[in-house]
């Protein structure tokens, strides 16, 4: 009996997978993969830079330090950028925005998507059809396009960006949740709960949700990658939040003209975003494999 199976057994007898042991089993399986370990390491490093970096910035984010685009400017590690600001400081300061916006939008998208998916799966019939059709329609739009359309007249405000990115996450989360929930809805303990007269919210939240947590977790991870990518793309195109605030994506765009002569203004943020998204992707992949393995081990 593997660790994973042992972790799941106690829950099976009562007809419900107890969240703690089930999740523990999955986590153990996930961490066993070297992919996930590398991914987690990358994520930890980059999130560390984004969150703690600002404490180590030698200069302010908008402080003038030397002539623009000078790679070997005195007293700087990586030279100056388009406006003569310190590249290294701006790099240390530039991760917070993108990370914060991405995490918040993903969480909101997850929450709304999960609710929609659960309701659709539980209700079946008419409501299910309408909800899923609407999801398909929203799905029909390339995310970046939707974001650009929103930003045109509503402006480059944080709430606009957060809401629109969350909105783009909802359809897929809803689909995944619904798919996973459909398998659970049929089970006996749901019928038992209904017979006991449990309220629908209770059933959805306490009975069904914990059992779809696995696929939802993987999806959450994937959505995070896409959120970072979308917010990054917006910033790169010049529609990030705040003018001249240090921001990795905007830095990439601003310092592009000097790519041949003073490349670090562009290279540092590119590597940062690249490693961050790859890290999150690796973790998602590891989680996905672990959960697939878990499902295979679970007897039906």
């Amino acid at each position: 009996m593997t660790i994973v199976e042992a972790g799941l057994q106690p829950g099976l007898a009562s007809g419900r997978i107890d969240p703690p042991s089930g999740r523990r089993g999955v986590l153990v399986a996930t961490l066993g993969l070297w992919r996930t370990r590398i991914g987690l390491l990358l994520v930890a490093v980059l999130v560390g830079i984004a969150v703690i970096g600002p404490l180590f910035a030698p200069y302010g984010g908008t402080e003038f330090v030397g002539p623009p685009f000078t790679a070997d400017a005195p007293d700087t590690l990586f030279g100056t950028d388009k406006l003569g600001q310190d590249v290294w400081s701006r790099f240390l300061l530039g991760g917070r925005t993108i990370l914060l916006l991405a995490v918040v939008s993903t969480l909101i998208g997850l929450a709304i998507g999960a609710v929609v998916g659960l309701v659709a799966a539980y209700n079946r019939g008419r409501l299910d059809n309408v909800l899923m059709r609407t999801m398909d329609v929203v799905f029909a739009f390339p995310n970046l396009l939707l974001a650009l359309v929103a930003v045109t007249t509503l402006g480059r405000r944080s709430w606009v960006i957060v809401l629109i990115v969350a909105f783009t996450a909802v359809p897929r989360v809803a689909r995944i949740t619904r798919g996973a929930a459909l398998g659970v809805v049929e089970r006996d303990f749901i019928g038992a709960a209904e017979a006991l007269g449990e309220s629908r919210t209770h059933i959805l939240g306490r009975e069904i949700l914990p059992n779809v947590a696995g696929p939802l977790l993987v999806e959450a991870n994937l959505r995070l990658t896409y959120s970072i990518a979308l917010i990054g793309a917006l910033g790169f195109l010049g529609f990030g939040v705040g003018l001249n605030q240090p921001d990795w994506a905007q830095m990439i765009n601003e310092n592009r003209p000097a790519l041949s002569t003073a490349p670090w203004g562009t290279l540092l943020p590119i590597f940062a975003i690249a490693l961050l998204t790859v890290g999150v992707g690796l973790v998602a992949d590891g989680l996905g494999r672990a959960i697939a393995g878990v499902d295979r081990a679970r007897p039906t």
Partner: protein
């Protein structure tokens, strides 16, 4: 005739989707947000605000604005550009063709490569080639396109090697194939956005096909493995992947937005960014609807194509 009815239903669904998309686009740009405030700023004089509103036709009831816009779209008159009073179609003209050209070339390059990689990794399952390919796919799929594109520039155009140009130089009126060398990096960026997904699905489909009876039969007949894989297995493995191929071609319609802006390629992606910056609402709306239409049409063709190619689904319709 089950198929005809199915196609009709799908077409109607596609039209409905576009209508809903048009409502969303219109709402975001003209109903929920105020173009005049976006252009003039919040501290503008009431007199200028009123004047501009009148000039742009924004003081009419929202429903009228929407229906006028929609009927204009359908009849081929998507409005007048806010910035220079020139009809939108005239402003965009060549750019639409340029973008379609870029999409077409990228599709023609990426799909065969993906199919080939998918087939090879399936035939050589669990070898070093397979694992490397899988790891590379994962990395490429995780990175945003603008990162991939810029890394390519750093690698091949500006910093490591200088083989290709970092920007495209096509003057207005010139055909996009004037400078083929400059097209390499944009097409490569888009290709790297497609290959990980399509090759992965192709691999899965291929693995399943390779385990089927008729392939076993072909092998028992003594056919060389190469013939078995490429002549017998491949055609059967493609059917299930058509849907994913279509989704990825449709993805190209959105992907060009970033790629054109990275390489300064004169297409609708570049125009879109300028239009958003200038709050040029009619242009933004039109490009949005155009891309959405491409998306819907490609997906529709994929749905119909899959049905036609998969006999099992065809009989289910009849």
């Amino acid at each position: 005739m089950g198929i005809a009815k199915f196609v009709l239903k799908r077409v109607l669904l596609g039209v409905l989707t576009l209508v809903v998309v048009s409502i969303v686009v219109f709402a975001l740009t003209q109903a929920l947000g105020d173009p005049v405030e976006a252009i003039l700023g919040r501290e503008a004089q009431p007199a200028s605000v009123a004047a501009m509103r009148e000039e742009l036709g924004l003081n009419r009831p929202v429903i009228t604005q929407y229906s006028d816009w929609l009927s204009g779209l359908v009849t081929g008159d998507p409005g007048i550009s806010y910035t220079n009073g020139v009809p939108v179609l005239e402003v965009l003209g060549d750019r639409i063709w340029n973008s379609l050209f870029l999409m077409l070339v990228s599709a023609l390059v990426s799909i065969p490569i993906s199919i080939a990689i998918g087939t090879l990794t399936a035939a050589r399952r669990d070898t070093a080639f397979d694992s490397t390919s899988s790891a590379t796919s994962l990395v490429l799929a995780s990175m945003p396109e603008f990162v991939t594109g810029l890394l390519l520039i750093v690698l091949l155009a500006t910093n490591v090697w200088q083989v290709f140009p970092a920007v495209v130089r096509i003057r207005p009126g010139e055909a996009p194939w004037v400078d083929v060398g400059a097209l390499v990096l944009p097409v490569l960026t888009l290709t790297l956005g497609v290959v990980p997904y399509v090759s992965r699905v192709m691999r899965a489909s291929m693995i399943e096909v390779l385990e089927s009876d008729y392939i076993e039969m072909a092998r028992l007949k003594g056919l060389p493995e190469r013939t078995v894989v490429w002549r017998h297995a491949l055609p059967n493995a493609i059917g299930p992947t058509l849907q994913v191929i279509a989704i990825n071609i449709a993805y190209l319609a959105g992907g060009v937005i970033v790629v054109e802006n990275i390489f300064n390629y004169p297409g609708i992606g570049l125009a879109l960014r300028d239009a958003v910056t200038d709050v040029n609402v009619p242009v933004v709306q039109f490009i949005a609807m155009l891309i959405a239409a491409i998306y819907v049409v490609v997906n529709l063709l994929a749905d119909v194509g899959t049905i036609l190619v998969t006999p099992r689904l065809r009989t289910r319709l009849q």
